[in-house]
Symmetry: C3
Subunit: 148 residues, 3 copies
């Protein structure tokens, strides 16, 4: 048997309304522990009010991103979702659908191929604090030894 | 020989102008039939006027998403693509490029890692009904048995 | 030993401010050379001011996409990133985070599953010319022969 894949379920406590969290450290730790040197790292956020992307994790540009998202799907518009269900988080769903829930990053020679100023961020758009999960999957690649 | 991957070409009939279809059921059926328990599910829409994302498939928020996309790339703007080619679907191409054609979802213990209210949707932005394909690829992970 | 994965680091010279480059030819060449017939092709752009998507690579619609991105995160707004760091490329970071750095495309029977008019594009949002890398990873799938 040759283990060629592993996964982790990462957990984060988020605050309400476009919390943007740097999860790079957790991802790098788990990738390092996996012993996998070459492969594909997939990140996925279960739930319909969260998203994943990469950005330079610097407070100024994180606020700039928040403002851009507010322009795209403002909290102050009327949402049909809210009229039907009363959750008040129609804007959260729309933002999450626009940004997308998945991210794929090749792993080469034991290093994630992120740029120097590029961090992995979890965006939580919900209108209340959440305990948010991120699935981290590491699929090994490279040569498969035929003998264990 | 060990089968470690399988794919399906799903087909959907779409109507014109931002048809948003819940394709979760079809995806779950094929993943179930594959017998694969752990791995990576990749979805990809061939064509330059379609996209994929996830959202809670509820009529209100689907309409809210449509409105947000209309704000991002309104059908009523002038598009250089239309002046050059006369297709009238310049807005469709722009929307598809902004939303993106691919989605990656880990499969763990036989279950796609979607949230409870999170469905997979195909967005067709074209200005005429289409027969639209989605490529579903299931790459097995987990342990590879050395004996068949 | 069975080679089940390969990668390439593609390099592109970009010009400043939303350069959009068709990289499909390079990707197809490397996939062809890999000899891989079935699998998953992952593309990833290291760096926090670049992105990847697909679009019909036609000058009109490329300009239309540029205009849509300018509406989403205009160069003429004030960015907190610029006030703090003076780089003048706050808009570049925001655009890259909104568009996303990764793309996943299944490879079936030796062919990438792109549509006829669908090209892979690298978007460089930075405010100066760059030498930009794109990671191309090809993970083989299909049957794994047990004998070399």
């Amino acid at each position: 048997m040759v283990r060629k894949s592993t996964h982790h379920i990462l957990t984060f406590e988020t605050s309400s309304d476009t919390d943007i969290i740097d999860i790079t450290g957790e991802v790098l730790d788990r990738v390092g522990e996996s012993g996998c040197r070459d492969g594909l790292v997939t990140l996925f956020v279960p739930g319909s009010t969260g998203a994943l992307t990469t950005i330079e994790y610097e407070r100024g540009v994180i606020n700039d991103l928040r403002r851009a998202i507010e322009r795209m799907a403002s909290r102050n518009l009327e949402y049909e979702h809210d009229r039907r269900w009363g959750d008040g988080n129609g804007y959260s769903h729309v933002r999450a659908a626009l940004m997308g829930p998945s991210l794929s990053i090749p792993l080469l020679s034991g290093k994630l191929t992120l740029g120097t100023w590029q961090q992995i961020v979890l965006l939580d758009f919900d209108n209340r604090p959440r305990q948010r999960k991120v699935i981290l999957q590491i699929m090994g690649a490279g040569r498969i030894p035929m003998e264990p």
